[in-house]
């Protein structure tokens, strides 16, 4: 599904540069649910951004679904993002002047689908996250948990191969966090590959595999016994 080898990335800071990723090797199979953990500055977000094609590595290889991701033009990256990836952000990043339905339909718009088809699909995914009745509401009329569920529906809308989540529960309280995790787990049960960045142990333990980063290298990469979030809900 996803294969990364000897990945390096550094950011220029003034005259010197900060070496953030120092040779990462990671491979993820289809159907996995991986948590990337690490303290701030460990490079976990950078790794996720490179996987998400929002950023490019300086060195190393990245193969996604047998497609080498290299020398991307902005246009190509946009098409790959649209086709392969679904993003879930900590702060939801919904477009605040668009209704929940329109937010979910946005990636489909960029896929070039017809309006009718888009609305149909978007409604289907809203139904799936249990927010069909909220379709016409604007993001500021929704609670945090609802917003994140709309964001998940949006990430799912384009039917991506890989779901990338950057601290998906970071802005939510514990109860809501577990609800969201329960939902993400159910997606994984259906076969979606999920990669998430988190710094919360309990959330990480709800994944099937934990990768710990420190100072730009992988310290630990273990498979864990998944804690089902449903028992807390």
């Amino acid at each position: 599904m996803l294969k990364i080898s000897k990945l390096h990335k550094s950011y220029p800071i003034g005259d010197s540069s900060l070496h953030v990723l120092k040779g990462i090797d990671l491979s993820v199979e289809a159907g996995e649910m991986v948590a990337i953990m690490g303290s701030s500055g460990s490079g976990k977000s950078t790794l996720l951004n490179i996987i998400g094609m929002l950023d490019e590595a300086d060195e190393g290889e990245y193969i996604l679904d047998n497609v080498p991701i290299k020398n991307l033009t902005e246009k190509k990256a946009a098409i790959y993002r649209n086709k392969f990836l679904g993003f879930i952000f900590q702060s939801f990043n919904l477009i605040n002047y668009k209704s929940a339905l329109d937010n979910v339909a946005l990636p489909l718009y960029y896929q070039g689908l017809k309006r009718k088809e888009r609305i149909e699909k978007a409604l289907f995914h809203l139904e799936k996250v249990g927010l069909r009745d909220w379709a016409t509401h604007l993001p500021n009329e929704l609670s945090g948990g609802q917003k994140q569920r709309v964001a998940i529906a949006r990430a799912l809308a384009a039917n991506p191969k890989l779901l990338l989540a950057d601290e998906p529960t970071g802005a939510l309280d514990t109860t809501t966090s577990y609800e969201i995790m329960d939902f993400i787990q159910s997606l994984n049960d259906e076969g979606k590959t999920i990669l998430m960045v988190t710094h919360e142990e309990d959330i990480a333990n709800m994944c099937k595999r934990i990768v710990r980063l420190k100072d730009g290298v992988i310290m630990e990469d273990v498979f864990v016994n998944q804690v089902r979030a449903s028992q807390y809900v």
């Binding site: 998400g52 246009k75 098409i79 086709k83 309006r115 384009a158």
Partner: protein, 413 residues
Amino acid sequence: MRFLFERDTWQEVYDSLTKNKLRSALTMVGVWWGILLLIGLLGSAKGLENSFNRLFGSFATNSVFVWAQSTSKPFRGFQEGRLVQLKISDAKKIEENVDGIEFVVPRNRNQALVVHDFLSGNFRVAGDYPLLDKVSKKKMIRGRFINQTDIDEKRKVVVISEEIYKQLFEKDAEMIDKYIQLNSMNFKVVGMFETGNQNMGPTDDMHIPFTTFQQIYNLGENIGFMMITGKPEYDIVQIESDAKLILRNLNNVHPEDNRAFGSFNLGKEFAKLTSFLTGMQFLTWFVGIATLIAGVFAIGNILLITVKERTKEIGVRRALGATPFEIKRQIVVEAVFITILAGLFGIISGGWILIALDNAFGQGTDAVLVNASVSITVVFIALLILVFLGTLIGLIPAFKATSIKPIDALREE
């Protein structure tokens, strides 16, 4: 270009404009004001031009009036101070010998006591050829102007102005084929013309055939003055000096005697006004277009700020798979749409301004602005310029928007 006809493109434009009403409104004010000024100014300039044209309208503008005065230099045994008299033959000679002459119209004028029934008054009577109608157009309300038969038969007919009619006739009384007395002679009224513009000096109250005038005032070949009209492609100032030179020669006047013949060069006065108008029109365009450009820059400026404000949104869109081209296209469409919309509002309210100007200054015969208006071509050109500038100015924020990496746009504070 297919995207221009897609509902989604416009839905996006509509959403982003209506969800930010104040921003959109402020953006539009710049262009709206620019085009409003352009149309208001151009319309006023046109109105002023029209009012000048109306002032001169009844006269062939390439004309000069020439009359005789007294000499200021002794010549060929004549003393200075001699009164010079113009003759019909002078007019004929000028017509034959000066280049570029269209017509030469000899005229006579006098005061006469005019009586109809119990009403009477002292009016200006002119003896004229039918040709006068070509040089100084008469707008006939009733009947006809003097014709060649009147001249040939020295008929006692008269063409009166509307003003005279009002003074000599009862209200709504018929005037055609009625008789009025001029210096105790009966003249038949054959026509009535609209009173000309008073701004061009006193106009004639009534016209009788030139030959009749000669006879009743016993003038012989003498004429009061003549109107010389040049062909449009000839310089009227040159014609004036040529004509005067011939007149001096024919009347034994010193070639350098400038006072023997007086003249009023309508063409020269008209040219002065025309160049004034041209200058004013240039100024109008300059001010209007400068304002327009300022307005378009305001749009660009606000869009640029907006793009900064929307950095995150643009980042999200790109994370969801929008290509840079799609983002740019959307911003340019927004810019063009908002400029056109503001432009159209400007055109409409510019029209209202012109209507208001017309109501305030455009009524009556002595109006300052006559038919203040802008041609539809000019409006379309202005709109085209707007579209062009709108596209150009939209490109700046569009490039700015896509130069930010999506990762930077999405990074948490």
